[in-house]
């Protein structure tokens, strides 16, 4: 089993969190903390790279939704990178996707669009 990790980086001054492993009840506090640290600094967007996330459920979506709501106060959004069909499906089912959470295929396609 992959150990859960969150790596913090920046692309064009936009914070990027690269997440690896499974996001569930046990690991989502770590994700929540990592996002919290990033959002302490002023900024409007957050890139969440979920390409190496093998599992996500409502607990992870809850954390992402809280982040999106916080960012929305400053007209910011969560840009999530995910290409795996079963992860995308969870976003679709949640109804979270859209206004404040946008899915992309790669970090490059996000920086091009901003």
């Amino acid at each position: 089993m992959t150990v859960f990790t969150v790596l913090h980086d920046e692309v064009n001054q936009i914070p990027v969190l690269r997440v690896e492993g499974e996001i569930d009840l046990h690991t989502c506090p770590a994700l929540s903390n990592a996002i919290g640290q990033v959002l302490e600094k002023p900024g409007s967007h957050l890139i969440l790279n979920l390409d190496k996330v093998s599992y996500i459920d409502s607990t992870g979506l809850g954390v992402i939704s809280v982040a999106a709501r916080q960012l929305a106060d400053h007209d910011g959004k969560v840009y999530a990178v995910c290409t795996q069909a079963h992860i995308k499906k969870v976003f679709e089912l949640s109804g979270l996707q859209g206004k404040n959470v946008v899915l992309y295929d790669s970090e490059l396609s996000i920086s091009k669009s901003l």
Partner: protein, 150 residues
């Protein structure tokens, strides 16, 4: 087709680090029954949500030891039945089902109140029995998809 019914029982401590154990177990069981990779992912989420609910809601305010989740897998041909049982606080099922999603997201717990929504949409059938002070049983069913020959 396999017609004999197999019964597998898994009992996990009601603690977040064991949800992955339930998930890995059902992944193996579903693979054994020839579920598709996509269906296996759906079942993993549904079972995780049921376990998460038990940990966060049933046992959150519950004092004393013996906090566990009993999971029964019944493998009957192309039908997988999963029963998730806790002995926590229980609730009024009608109240929870009719409760607005936004209420849950306002609390400090993770999950948006989406757990039940996921179980409903990812499984073929589900049922919740709960009694205040006694606990909750979530039953869910998934059938192996029939591959229609081209």
């Amino acid at each position: 087709m396999m017609t004999e019914t197999a019964h597998i029982h898994l009992s996990i401590p009601a603690s977040s680090e064991f949800v992955v154990v339930a998930r890995l177990s059902v992944s193996g069981i579903a693979a054994r029954m020839n579920f598709t990779v996509e269906d296996i992912e759906d079942i993993k989420i549904a079972l995780s949500e049921a376990c998460t609910n038990a940990i966060q809601h049933a046992y959150d305010q519950h004092e004393g030891g013996g906090k566990k989740i009993d999971i029964h897998f019944i493998l009957a041909g192309d039908k997988l039945e999963i029963e998730v049982r806790d002995t926590g606080v229980g609730f009024n099922p009608q109240g929870v089902i009719s409760k607005k999603q936004t209420d849950a997201s306002a609390s400090d717990q993770f999950g948006l109140g989406l757990g039940l929504t996921f179980i409903k949409s990812l499984m073929d059938a589900y049922d919740i029995q709960s009694e205040l002070g006694k606990g909750t049983v979530v039953k869910m069913v998934k059938y192996v998809s029939q591959i229609i020959p081209a």
